[in-house]
Symmetry: C2
Subunit: 291 residues, 2 copies
């Protein structure tokens, strides 16, 4: 019935809140965690999130971390997780950069890809054995991620890439793949554009939507995370702070867990007609002190 | 009945093709000419276009030139017209840069404007007495034109401006004005993005369309050209090579003249359900040798 193997007396009293072993959350063997708003807010860790992950792992649960981040490689994220105090290896991380590379590599191994985006995206495309091309006229795929830096400037090495992607799609008939559909993000001085800016620019010019969007709420990225867990969706929970997390989880038949520690209130979530299976203030509250 | 006052024997025989003085084209006192595809193709003049303009003027017709170009000021266009052999002053030119500046200056004189686009757009906004601001949070209007150079690179001084425009619209509630809706243009090495790339990026991120688009097929730019002619639309002809020209002209009750010297075939035009009042191979054919 215990979800973990506590190593001292205080931990021993921690249990999933008043639940028997037949409780859906106790029966889940795999957990997919969204990152921002769940484990951290920007650079700040969510209190006791690292502890919650540690306890789940000790309880024999399998855990992967999933993010729509389109600018970082899994390698880049190792440092982020170190700062959060959560030990991970690259195989524990499913970012939209990596998931996009996997998606294309499964569909067409070694495909010629013209990319719009950051070095972290390039790195994952290369690791998946895809051929990065600079000539749009030979591209078989166009991959777009966010092309903006943290201050909201178009990255210097991307100044020609919206046109390159346009040409690959218009002249060369390349397939159009987006890492994620996120529109805007908060930043220190105001909002900054997400991948949506590039999707919007190309879609308006060409009068067509992407052939595939990999990140949430699409199920592509979650299917890749489930494959990593090696557990069927019915035995897995998706823990997130956004409508997109709950939608993606529900579409695949997973148990959905909403946490109130992120950008979206539970009221807004429910006003969108989305009912999570469980809701907690934060991830540590999934595991609570009994008696 | 003659549309012009010929100055030698050869010219004397030129007339509007077999038409009496009650012919709609002969009765038109004002002519609005689209530029690219009508008077030139890129840098190359359309044969005898300059001659046709000269004859119309000699016949007492008033003529203005209209273009969706969003990167040039009227000043910039003087040199272009000199190369085409067509004498003009700035008042003869209605570009989407100028028309956008006029539109905003009429709606709110001296308004604070945050712009995305080229120096020619900045120039016209300044000439109209608008206040160009670099701080998106104080902007009352966002004006977007094409932010790409002739090779398809985002202009260096525009690298931060998609984000600036986003912030002015998202945080400051600015009005969203686009110079023109053009999506893509042909160029030497392949297509390059038009203003549509910027409209698409912002529209996708914000889930809203521009409050106004000034260039064709919108009637805003044509109304500004008609005001310049000082002749009611029923007494004016719109001469163009595209569906957008014919649509804008018809919406305002003008006589529409299609020329086959541009990018669109008459077959495609008619397949779109658009019937121009007249169609000619090129502008000189509006004026033809009789007998």
């Amino acid at each position: 019935m215990a979800l973990y193997y506590p190593d001292d007396e205080a931990l021993e009293r921690l249990r999933l809140v008043g639940r028997g072993s037949d409780h859906p959350l106790v029966r889940c063997q795999g957990f997919i965690f969204d990152v921002d708003g769940v484990l951290c807010r920007g650079e700040d860790p969510i209190p006791r999130a690292a502890e919650a992950i540690e306890r789940l792992r000790r309880g024999g649960k399998r855990v992967v971390f999933l993010s729509n981040n389109s600018t970082k490689s899994r390698e880049d994220y190792l440092a982020k997780f170190a700062r959060l105090g959560i030990p991970v290896i690259e195989d524990d991380l499913v970012l939209s950069t990596y998931a996009t590379a996997e998606y294309i590599a499964r569909e067409k191994p070694g495909a010629k890809v013209y990319m719009v985006g950051a070095p972290g995206l390039r790195r994952e495309l290369e690791l998946a054995g895809l051929e990065l091309v600079e000539d749009p006229f030979v591209a078989e795929y166009v991959v777009v991620g966010s092309a903006f830096d943290g201050t909201g400037r178009i990255r210097e090495d991307n100044a020609h890439r919206i046109t390159g992607a346009l040409r690959a799609l218009y002249h060369a008939g390349a397939k159009f793949i987006a890492t994620n559909p996120d529109r805007i993000f908060p930043a220190k001085d105001g909002v900054i554009p997400g991948t949506g800016a590039i999707i919007g620019a190309l879609s308006y010019m060409l009068g067509r939507e992407p052939d595939a969007v990999i990140g949430k709420p699409s199920t592509h990225i979650v299917e890749i995370a489930l494959a990593r867990l090696g557990i069927p969706p019915s035995g897995c929970a998706f823990v997130g702070d956004m409508d997109t997390d709950m939608l993606a989880g529900k579409r695949l038949g997973m148990t959905t867990v909403f946490v109130r520690s992120g950008a979206m209130t539970e009221e807004v979530l429910r006003s969108l007609g989305i009912e999570p299976d469980f809701a907690f203030d934060s991830v540590i509250d999934m595991l609570a002190v009994e008696g």
